[in-house]
C-alpha cells in the first residue's frame, strides 16, 4: 500500500520554484531518505507533506488523504521531529511527552501510560524529571523523536535527526530509528550520506526542486557506476547541474 503519493507537487516562492512537479511514491512501512544539497527542495517538500505550507499546485495523498483538502485528517496521522530543538523548554521530559499525547487526543490517563512507555523505550528514566532546557543535545533529540512517536503516527518525518550530535549519540539514534523500520513509514532527510545508506530502504536524490533519481543505495550506485554511495550522490547531482 502507498503511504505517500505526490502528484505534480509544486511550490513557488515569487520567482523561485522550490519544488517542481514532484511525483513521489513511498510505500507503507518504508524508510525513505530524501537527499540533496542545500536548496534542493527537501525541506519544502517535507513542509508541504506535513501541512506546514500549502503547495502552489499539485497535491499529495498521505494514507489516502489529500494535504490540500484534508489537512486536519493528515495532521492526525503524521508527526514530525524537526531539525532543531523541538521541545517545550520549561516543561520536564515527562510533561513534554504527556503534553503532545494529549494534544493528539489521548486522555490524561492514556497520556501518562504512553509517556511511561516512551520513557522506557528510549531509556529516559534518569532525565524524566529534568526540564528540557537543561538536557544535552543528544537527550533533547531523543526526547524530540519520542514526542513524535508518542502519538503513534502512521507517517513520521525525521528532519536531520542526528545533526550536530556526537558519534555515540548518533549511533544510539540510528539504533532507535532502525527499531522503527517496518512498523511505521518514515521520511528521513539528512546531509549524512552514510546515515541514508545505512538506514534507508530507498533513497531519493533532489536538486533544484527536482527528483533526480531514486532507488536503493545499491541501485543508485549501479546507476552512477560508482562503488561508493557518496560518489554516486555527487555524480548524480553534478550531472543534473551540468
Amino acid at each position: 500500500m502507498e503511504a505517500i503519493k505526490t502528484k505534480a507537487l509544486t511550490k513557488k516562492y515569487k520567482e523561485t520554484t522550490a519544488v517542481k512537479a514532484l511525483d513521489l511514491t513511498v510505500h507503507k512501512g518504508e524508510l525513505y531518505a530524501l537527499l540533496g544539497v542545500n536548496g534542493a527542495g527537501k525541506s519544502t517538500t517535507i513542509k508541504m507533506l506535513s501541512c506546514l505550507t500549502q503547495p502552489t499546485s499539485g497535491d499529495a495523498e498521505l494514507m489516502g488523504h489529500s494535504i490540500v483538502s484534508e489537512a486536519s485528517m493528515v495532521k492526525a496521522l503524521i508527526n514530525v521531529s524537526p531539525q532543531e530543538t523541538a521541545v517545550a523548554a520549561k516543561l520536564s521530559v515527562r510533561e513534554n511527552l504527556e503534553f503532545i499525547a494529549e494534544i493528539y487526543g489521548s486522555s490524561k490517563k492514556e497520556a501518562k501510560e504512553k509517556a511511561q512507555s516512551m520513557i522506557e523505550k528510549f531509556n529516559m528514566h534518569e532525565i524524566v524529571r529534568s526540564r528540557a532546557a537543561v538536557l544535552s543535545g543528544g537527550w533533547q533529540r531523543r526526547l524530540s523523536i519520542a514526542m513524535a512517536l508518542i502519538t503513534e503516527p502512521e507517517i513520521l518525518f525525521l528532519d536531520e535527526p542526528t545533526l550536530g550530535l556526537d558519534v555515540l549519540a548518533r549511533r544510539e539514534l540510528w539504533r532507535l530509528i532502525e527499531n522503527l523500520k517496518g512498523k511505521i513509514t518514515i521520511i528521513l532527510t539528512t546531509h549524512y550520506l552514510e546515515e541514508a545508506e545505512s538506514l534507508s530502504d530507498r533513497i531519493g536524490i533532489m536538486s533544484r526542486g527536482v527528483l533526480l533519481a531514486e532507488g536503493t543505495a545499491a541501485e543508485l550506485k549501479a546507476k552512477a557506476g560508482t562503488d561508493s554511495f557518496e560518489e554516486a550522490f555527487i555524480r548524480i547531482t553534478e550531472e543534473a547541474v551540468q
Binding site: 513542509k47 506535513s50 501541512c51 506546514l52 505550507t53 500549502q54 486536519s72 495532521k75 492526525a76 503524521i78 508527526n79 514530525v80 524537526p82 531539525q83 532543531e84 530543538t85 523541538a86 521541545v87 517545550a88 523548554a89 520549561k90 516543561l91 510533561e95 503534553f99 503532545i100 494529549e102 494534544i103 493528539y104 487526543g105 514526542m147 513524535a148
Partner: protein, 247 residues
C-alpha cells in the same frame, strides 16, 4: 480539551518564569505603595484627586494588566523562534485553539493580580465591600484587550521587537491615555480625543465606577472595552491563522 491541554502547558511556561511574577504581581504593588506614600506626604486638599486610594487603586489594577501584553507576546514570539512551533503547527491544533490556549492561562493571572492589588489597597485605606469583587470582574475585558494585543504583536513581530512594543510602548500608551497618572481632560484637544477612542481610559473609568459602587456608570465604559476585547481577540485569531498558512 486540546485547548485546555495547550493552556496548561502555557501556564507552566509563564509561572516558571520569575520575571513574570515580578512584573505581574510585585511591580503594580510597588507603584501603589509608592504613589500612596507620595500622596500622603501632600497636605489634604492639595494633592491630585486621582491619587486618592479609591481612584488610584483601580487605575493601578488596569495599568498592571498592561504587562499581560508583554507576557502573551513573549510567549508566542518565543515559541515562534524555536522548532517547537513546527511541532505545534503540524499538530491538529486549530488557530482559535492556539489563541485561546495562549489567552486562558493569563485570565486567572489577571484576576490574581487585580485581587492582590485591591488587597494591598485595603491596607492603604480603601474600604472593603462587595464593590471590590465587582471591580475584579470588571477588569476581565481589559485583561482580554491586553492579552489579545500581545498575541497580535507576538504573531507578527519577533522576540526582540515585542519586548520594545509591548514592554515599553504599550505600557507608556496605557499610562498616558488611561487617566491613571493624570486627567487627559487637562491636556484636552486631540490628546483627549485619542484617549476617548482608545480603551484604556474607559477601562479605568469602569474600574473606578465599580470601586465606587456606581454600577450605572460601569457599563457605558465597559461596553467600549468589551467591544475592543472582542475585536482584538478576533483579529489575533485571524492574523495567527494567516501566519499559520503563510509558514
Amino acid at each position: 480539551m486540546r485547548t485546555l491541554t495547550f493552556a496548561s502547558r502555557n501556564t507552566k511556561e509563564i509561572t516558571r518564569d520569575i520575571l513574570t511574577l515580578i512584573f505581574g504581581i510585585v511591580f503594580p504593588i510597588v507603584l501603589l505603595l509608592l504613589l500612596s506614600a507620595i500622596n500622603k506626604g501632600i497636605p489634604e486638599g492639595y494633592g491630585p484627586e486621582i491619587f486618592a486610594i479609591s481612584k488610584l487603586a483601580p487605575g493601578i489594577t488596569v495599568f498592571g494588566l498592561s504587562f499581560l501584553s508583554l507576557f502573551s507576546s513573549m510567549l508566542i514570539a518565543k515559541d515562534k523562534t524555536t522548532s517547537f512551533v513546527l511541532r505545534l503547527f503540524t499538530s491538529p491544533l486549530k488557530p482559535a485553539e492556539f489563541i485561546l490556549g495562549y489567552t486562558l492561562p493569563l485570565i486567572p493571572m489577571a484576576l490574581i493580580q487585580t485581587a492582590i492589588c485591591y488587597l494591598c489597597a485595603l491596607f492603604l485605606g480603601l474600604p472593603f465591600g462587595i464593590n471590590l469583587l465587582v471591580a475584579v470582574i470588571v477588569n476581565l475585558p481589559i485583561a482580554v484587550v491586553f492579552i489579545s494585543l500581545g498575541l497580535l504583536f507576538g504573531s507578527i513581530l519577533n522576540e526582540k521587537a515585542v519586548g520594545g512594543i509591548c514592554g515599553a510602548l504599550l505600557t507608556n500608551l496605557t499610562g498616558w491615555f488611561s487617566n491613571v497618572w493624570f486627567d487627559t481632560a487637562l491636556v484636552g484637544g486631540a490628546f483627549k480625543t485619542v484617549a476617548d477612542i482608545l480603551p484604556f481610559s474607559h477601562a479605568v473609568g469602569a474600574a473606578r465606577a465599580a470601586v465606587a459602587g456606581d454600577y450605572a456608570a460601569i457599563f457605558p465604559d465597559l461596553w467600549w472595552v468589551i467591544g475592543y476585547a472582542v475585536l482584538l481577540l478576533a483579529a489575533a485569531v485571524t492574523v495567527f491563522a494567516v501566519k499559520l498558512k503563510k509558514n
